[in-house]
């Protein structure tokens, strides 16, 4: 029996990775005059990976990684004005308007009538709260959980706190690594809704032959999938 549906936020409810890519392109353009333009994006990604244990996920840590990489690739010659531009670029990300992905509002509205709905997201607290407030979806959710990482343990805790346990819950999101695999490990259903852009640190292989693993091309198909599961159980 399914009672609770968890939804990822970034790139599941609204666009996010596209803003990171735009800022990363801006970073590369800004630094191209001051350092070897090859591999700038790779150096930035390496810094993000290296700093994840210090900064966690989110825009503030990304901004600090951009600044650190700018110093590193210029061997300390980057002008302060360029650092100032990177700070502004990070701040722009914290202010970008929220664009819901297609079918999000209708899908969440339909499911909220029958299920407990929980947003489960990583990132900076204030930034994620701001985006949820601007999305206008807040009232459709029973709870919002902003976590430092998405693990089987965190899904078990969240689905016990806000639902009836992970085995009666479903997690839906664009990241196999964060949304699907640990949710399946916790005993929940895991539904992957891929987006065009995936951050390198979120790439993972799809689970093989898992009865609770599903893939949807868009959130539009989620209510039908949920009904199918209910029908299959009762038939």
């Amino acid at each position: 029996m399914l009672t609770t549906i968890g939804l990822d936020a970034d790139d599941t409810l609204w666009q996010n990775e596209a803003f990171f890519r735009l800022t990363q392109d801006h970073f590369v353009r800004l630094l191209a005059d001051h350092a070897d333009p090859d591999h700038l994006a790779e150096r930035l990604e390496a810094a993000e990976r290296r700093n994840l244990g210090h900064y966690g996920f989110g825009v503030k840590g990304f901004t600090l990684s951009m600044i650190e990489t700018a110093i590193e690739v210029t061997e300390g010659r980057v002008p302060a004005a360029v650092i100032g531009e990177l700070i502004s670029a990070g701040r722009d990300m914290l202010e970008h308007p929220i664009q819901l992905l297609p079918h999000v509002r209708a899908t969440v509205t339909a499911l909220a009538a029958e299920y407990r709905m929980v947003v489960i997201t990583k990132g900076d607290l204030l930034d994620q709260e701001r985006k949820l407030a601007q999305s206008g979806l807040g009232d459709l959710f029973n709870a919002v959980e902003i976590v430092s990482d998405k693990t089987a343990a965190s899904y078990r805790t969240i689905f016990s706190r806000h639902g009836t346990g992970a085995d009666q819950a479903m997690m839906v999101g664009n990241s196999l690594k964060s949304d699907v695999i640990p949710a399946l490990q916790a005993g929940a259903w895991g539904v992957h809704v891929p987006q065009d852009l995936t951050w390198a640190l979120e790439v993972a292989d799809a689970p093989q032959d898992h009865s609770r693993f599903h893939v949807l091309t868009s959130l539009e198909g989620l209510p039908d999938l949920v009904s199918d599961l209910a029908t299959r159980r009762n038939s």
Copy 2:
């Protein structure tokens, strides 16, 4: 009837502001060679205040505010090596060992035997989780809530979720502004345990003549205060 005790973390369970002050002093020394040394600390504080709505609370936002101020006070002439030092200083803050304040472990252990205990703290998610893990106090608490701001509304939500409502809860902490005043507004008891150092943005006037407001010189007195409240009610 009191069922639930909320405890602030930074400068209530462990030292925190002292590390910010040390880093701020380091900032002033680093910049003194490159800018007018007067008012450097004030300029940094102004940046923190201005950026609070963008970055929220925590070390990552503080680091970004130091970098922004360094660029500003040098009119863009700060060497990248100094910015690199500021990034390192921020990272050191994210790694400093946890030093429990006096009487914390004994007090929390005693109260945890009778009350639901909740840590309620602001700051960066990952950093606060790291500090709680290193404190060794994690198992004494029933729940941990890391919030973007402490308001009457957030206390009401938290004390309903983890207790029996704000009117049967107490909030204990070093900040009148964040720990005491909004908790009293929510209907809870508010207990102020002042520390030597208080961040300028947390300064507030003490409530006047509020029956649920108490001041303790140390956490050591908390179990007695709690017993007194129980006795007074039953007598």
